[in-house]
Symmetry: C2
Subunit: 195 residues, 2 copies
DNA sequence: CGCGACGTTGATTTGCCTCAACGATTGTGG
DNA sequence: CCACAATCGTTGAGGCAAATCAACGTCGCG
């Protein structure tokens, strides 16, 4: 499927745009390809775009004072990738977003957002719906992090995101789960012994 | 301030409604008072309303298989309180929402939401903005939980929500922070010794 | 008064981290 | 085609943050 079609198809699952509206939309987003290792956003920069991932994979992470990387989320096909806090306030980002594969995206620029919503009010609705879902997922994750052990969190992750578990290096999964790579390794070897 | 004014005042910080729109809005929300201990939502019920808190305080919590309570959030004046996951899909709630003080709210019923957005499209925008902020806060909390120690999380909480820290029992704050009441007690006594 | 709700303190245990050494695999330049 | 470094994962010894369990203190209130 052509990438523009993929974006429109995704949007059509939530709101129905006319052909004219679709053209307006496409005229206001940028299509862009990144290589593995490149950054969409760097900590300290202002996040100018909200990116919709067509293919590939990104990680969003926070680098703490000790230089440790904490992965907040991965984004693959049909997911969004941006430092939302930085994007909406147009202030320096707390997070980095880096491609861990060659990645193709559509970017919604901040400076055209108001125009876009004015010309296509349905998109206001679209983003409300997307945000609702994202917030629900985020709140569930908070609870999981408190009420589950590391082993349970790993099994839950495997279950929720089997595709990601297969293509992402283990040390990044460990970071996402909030544990060390060594400990994840031990969890996995125990799991193998158990069954 | 009269409670309806408080709601309208809060909304006016994000979108400008006409007087007529304000009247429509007020005709579609319920004003309601709860006593300390009463539930807005119980785990297993469908969450029919999104509630805007006028006064008092609620806690949203998840009860795990061991019967342990995990507090996901507190809501005070000018905050929202609902199990969003249950509300948007109209399926049984994962969380309980209980008043820990006598609490006054305005409730936005799910069954009038579509009408409301149709009659007042600006509200679609309003909720998009609210959701953006909530999502940013939620993502920040995930990172904090991973990158900070219990002591740092407690200090951060005190700093972010001084009002809540003062009026809520310690064992609930411990639950929100993801630690035991005993350990929070030890953190606090150490902090007193230190300065 | 006595009971229930809340908070404290200490002894012990445990889940997970740190550090350090050691494979396995891949890629790259000579 | 080999050497060797880089990247990623594994394993073990020891340590620490936080949980668990149990006992006790305190306050408000019927």
């Amino acid at each position: 499927m052509e990438s523009a079609k993929q974006l429109l198809n995704y949007i059509s699952k939530h709101v129905n745009l006319t052909e004219k509206e679709e053209l307006v939309l496409l005229s206001k987003v940028n299509h862009r390809k990144y290589l593995k290792g490149q950054y969409l956003v760097q900590q300290g920069d202002v996040c100018k775009y909200t990116s919709f991932v067509i293919s590939g994979c990104t990680k969003m992470f926070y680098m703490d004072n000790e230089g440790q990387e904490h992965i907040a989320m991965f984004s693959i096909k049909d997911w969004w990738s941006s430092d939302l806090g930085s994007f909406i306030t147009q202030t320096p980002a707390d997070y980095n977003i880096q491609c861990i594969e060659n990645t193709e995206v559509f970017q919604f620029p901040h400076h055209t957002q108001e125009e876009l919503f004015k010309e296509i009010p349905k998109l206001e609705r679209f983003f409300r719906i997307i945000l609702e879902k994202a917030l629900v997922a985020s709140q569930k994750r908070i609870i999981r992090n408190f009420s589950l052990t590391a082993k349970e969190r790993y099994l839950n992750f495997k279950n929720l995101y089997p595709t990601i578990e297969q293509r992402v290096p283990q040390y990044m999964i460990a970071s996402y789960l909030g544990i060390t790579k060594e400990f994840l390794s031990k969890i996995k070897s125990k799991l193998i012994l158990e069954q």
